[in-house]
Symmetry: D3
Amino acid sequence: MRSDQREVNQLRNVTIETDYVKHPEGSVLISFGDTKVICNASVEDRVPPFLRGQGKGWITAEYAMLPRATESRNIRESSKGKVSGRTMEIQRLIGRALRAVVDLDSIGERTLWVDCDVIQADGGTRTASITGAFVAVVLALGKLVDAGKIKKLPITDYLTAISVGVLPDGQEILDLCYEEDSKAHVDMNVVMTGDGEFVELQGTGEEATFTMPQLQTMLSLAQKGVEELVEMQKEAIGSYAEVIDNLREKASNE
Amino acid sequence: MRSDQREVNQLRNVTIETDYVKHPEGSVLISFGDTKVICNASVEDRVPPFLRGQGKGWITAEYAMLPRATESRNIRESSKGKVSGRTMEIQRLIGRALRAVVDLDSIGERTLWVDCDVIQADGGTRTASITGAFVAVVLALGKLVDAGKIKKLPITDYLTAISVGVLPDGQEILDLCYEEDSKAHVDMNVVMTGDGEFVELQGTGEEATFTMPQLQTMLSLAQKGVEELVEMQKEAIGSYAEVIDNLREKASNE
Amino acid sequence: MRSDQREVNQLRNVTIETDYVKHPEGSVLISFGDTKVICNASVEDRVPPFLRGQGKGWITAEYAMLPRATESRNIRESSKGKVSGRTMEIQRLIGRALRAVVDLDSIGERTLWVDCDVIQADGGTRTASITGAFVAVVLALGKLVDAGKIKKLPITDYLTAISVGVLPDGQEILDLCYEEDSKAHVDMNVVMTGDGEFVELQGTGEEATFTMPQLQTMLSLAQKGVEELVEMQKEAIGSYAEVIDNLREKASNE
Amino acid sequence: MRSDQREVNQLRNVTIETDYVKHPEGSVLISFGDTKVICNASVEDRVPPFLRGQGKGWITAEYAMLPRATESRNIRESSKGKVSGRTMEIQRLIGRALRAVVDLDSIGERTLWVDCDVIQADGGTRTASITGAFVAVVLALGKLVDAGKIKKLPITDYLTAISVGVLPDGQEILDLCYEEDSKAHVDMNVVMTGDGEFVELQGTGEEATFTMPQLQTMLSLAQKGVEELVEMQKEAIGSYAEVIDNLREKASNE
Amino acid sequence: MRSDQREVNQLRNVTIETDYVKHPEGSVLISFGDTKVICNASVEDRVPPFLRGQGKGWITAEYAMLPRATESRNIRESSKGKVSGRTMEIQRLIGRALRAVVDLDSIGERTLWVDCDVIQADGGTRTASITGAFVAVVLALGKLVDAGKIKKLPITDYLTAISVGVLPDGQEILDLCYEEDSKAHVDMNVVMTGDGEFVELQGTGEEATFTMPQLQTMLSLAQKGVEELVEMQKEAIGSYAEVIDNLREKASNE
Amino acid sequence: MRSDQREVNQLRNVTIETDYVKHPEGSVLISFGDTKVICNASVEDRVPPFLRGQGKGWITAEYAMLPRATESRNIRESSKGKVSGRTMEIQRLIGRALRAVVDLDSIGERTLWVDCDVIQADGGTRTASITGAFVAVVLALGKLVDAGKIKKLPITDYLTAISVGVLPDGQEILDLCYEEDSKAHVDMNVVMTGDGEFVELQGTGEEATFTMPQLQTMLSLAQKGVEELVEMQKEAIGSYAEVIDNLREKASNE
């Protein structure tokens, strides 16, 4: 039995609130149970130096937690004067994942800055960030389309992420809350497209190891979670969902 | 006429939502119009080195803005590797102000960490931070009282802050929104107690100067704003308001 | 009775030595009693990036103390690798104040670097810095005029600063020395023009508060101090005083 | 056909030279083709603060490249004043992997510092680092056993790592050299034990995605590579191999 | 002919003003022509971690220049966030030199902080710093003796430093001013004791080389300069000179 | 008798292995006994900002030690976030020395990056670095000549460095190993050209002093060592030695 009575393959209650903050081109508050993340996508009309003059765009993600998003207060990274290894890993992961489903060649020399700020943390903040960030990015790119700055929505597929893991008793579970995460022997983050292909797979034995059959079970759980999350993303992005579905259909026909 | 049709002595719509985030001992979301700040107060059971062994407590405030709290995105201070002068000034102000109304001798060797994180900015973020932080601190200290860790609420008075300024046409106004703030000739932040005494007064001519009569008008406006804000704080802290009022009455009788 | 026998409204012995260091365009050693500050103004023929191409100038101030300017040695900020919040506050204040009386549009794309280095500290270093820096800036700008690089002295008024405060016994005093400053309940820095207008007003209750009548008394003391300081500045800048007075007269006639 | 004529499931030429540097307790030069990494394991007789007093040990890994280990020179991280996100990710991975096969409870309050310094890079530096670091750690722990400081070799299994990937033409391959790595659509690093269990699995689509069948093929390739690497590790550690095999047999019998 | 008409073996005008700043235990303003350095020696009642518990003391020197000590303004090292290589070299040199003539075993667990702050620079700032710092250290240690904290002045000999060099025409000269220094082919700093022994010798060909005979000539010039500087130091330290001379005589008799 | 049985004027076993790493234009592994340094020279087709547009080149050297190059492990400078004073001193010395024998006007707007990475340390790492770096630089510049990018080898003379010192018993010795270095009273590094001229001379009394006769003896020892090292460099650079000798002969005839 899971600590919050969920089934082993059951997601927490997930909500996606759009237009949460007024200034960003795309803004989302996403919740996975008690995990709450503000995902803001901002459009900047230039690219990093290494891309200048190539006519293509870029996506950079940043991730942070409010100091008291967690049970005990963390020192602010701006006070420490440097970003932790964990933060770097997460923001590199978010950016890489988003770049896999956005056609950077079609957005011109623009940078999408994606800021994922965790307001309250209860496990799964990086997967919630990716899932919410995708919605914020669609909204921001949609505004570029609506403003006639780019021709069509440069999204090749949905993008969601979910965590799976193995409890000490060997049970594989979907969408770990903090209590589960802190005692799990294996922790795996799976980033997938709407088509069910892998974008990123990161599994870690925490001073433990895992077997091939455990891997297969975790991947199945992840697949189920991802399918449900894609449905929620469709609802959140409204009419853009149809646009994406049409684009995917077209692409698969080619 | 003000850009948002307010009277010159009228506050924006102010709301204070308590228990906004679940982990902190005191948590508040305060809004002044479109300015929204999360104020979290955390209790740590030790004090900074310079106070150790003296039996008294301390309050440290930190202030930050989400990168896209503002109209255009700001670089994250953790990425820059250092905190800006503006941020330092504000967090030093918040901490100093709170320490003026908390009896640090009565809270034991504890530090109150007060985090003010601006989610959306539209002018007056530092005064909103102080006004909200006071509520978060009362809630956090209230929990210490309820848990029997300290004997009585160590609050000597209410604490609120508000901005006043002078528009280019010479009109003094209360509670500047961003649009007003960016064109004002004078910008003044006033921090006051419930008793109407000054805790901090910071007035700046922005490549301009101001006269004694203008100062007096601004101070009157501030006083009116502060009185209204104290009423909202009382409502937000509920039964603790009565406790503070009793303590103040006792103190003024001594 | 004050610790150094002064009247409550009496300045310390103030001296202003010009051309103190040979390289800077303007160089001053200013003393307020035992507080001694070297104020150097340097002219650089370009402006910060945010001003480029606008044809106007800028003033940037930096402030520092020798490690042993104070009773006990402070760690050098260059060794700590970062500038403290206090230093940032002070140098932002100095720069802002000077920009209020210098016509930046008339100096071309130049930056005035104003360095205030405290050699010996005994209270009031930031107000001494502003008062001395004004003189250094006049000297530096005067050299630009003399060299024909700008047409006329772009100074709109005198600029001086002084501290006032409230002692524990409730007595308001002018120009606090360190011993007074460290025990004062209220500390206020007032920056004023020769015309008696406010440029900056910063009053702080040090774990204390102050009333409206106390504020009024402190402002009167400050006004008296400022008037005396302007006379000393006039003497220090010599013939430039007449130029400034003429310019002010002209401006007030327009 | 691969750029260096290898079969798709063929490792590069791998060599492991022990006792490469004289000071460290364990020192190895490992080569995977033109990739050369010095792996040094140092024993320190204390643990990081968060572990003090618990009687158990810790492993910390650091990773770096000589500036000209690569085709074009990289700026030294000590000159930049900070460690890159990539470096942090890799050193966190190495440390986590080693901690999975070392019984930290049995080594007392000691830290093993594992330094992986890449002298020449041609792809696969992180997997080479893990594979070589394991050998260095065995040698260092062996010295502790020989010196009677710990009772028995606290190694629970072999630990090796290898990269697999998918070329643009869809071909899955084992042990990518730099040329292959830079054009591959998928890059996966697999860390496994001698028992064939997963310690870490990190697969990334590089602006691309991968399917479940591709994942399965890559895992098979990795398994083959890992088996061969374990044999080379056995040879490198000499008599310690027998010790580890005995310990594993005992453990599996329990 | 030298730019300032001096003989090749002639020092600039050297002055040493003691008790220049009031707080430090030893304070000196030393001038070599237009080079002016404040040398402050502060006593701290503890030593760096690596010396704790050994009953002996330490000397740490720090060196800095005011931003406009030089012809064009230098960026403040505290603003850059790091100390330059040049500064580090100089402060390491000053500390090392002083430690050669102070008996660290006799001063107890105390650190002498020696701050050399260049107010105006015209070549030879590091040698002026050493020469002035020695006087400041004698004064500070003298105070410890006078206060009965240490038994006798723990100074084993005088310590002075001077620069010598070779001009482009091959002429060796003593005590280079900035104009000479910037065009010299060879620049050598010599630190010597009152007994004429070397403490430090640093000679550098500036994109040039020097021969053995040139070295010998430069060393003779340095010796002459050092002898004159020792006399000035004796005058500056007053009665302590006799104490040092007695101690040296005693030591040479042993 | 020396700890390793050498004569007082005897070098350790010195070897120079060229083309050690495959990517750099010049790469050398140099050993002085147990001291081993990789010296890589990289050519970059631009110069630092202060030299742009002048048509001449530059040489920048960087120096580092692997954390466990030494008997006990040192913290990595990239982890500390700053380069130590010792490192800065050494890399400035290496760069300065090399610039004395390379004709920077003849290499065009190029920077030679010289990286000296100490793999194993046993005293004399800075002198080994210079001696090895010279060879790497010749190889790199030779490649530029061979590629027709510059007309002739822009080397004006050989460059070698060696340490000499005085043991506690007063014996002067050549080429100190770590054990000797750590107890020596005087440590001197001598950088010389093939012509026997000085490039750099740095002698330090380690809490001790040295006399003129000791200096003379040390210089003689250094001269002998340098002559032997030049022979080894000639052998290492092969046919380039003849080129350099011809160039030197021509120069001395002019």
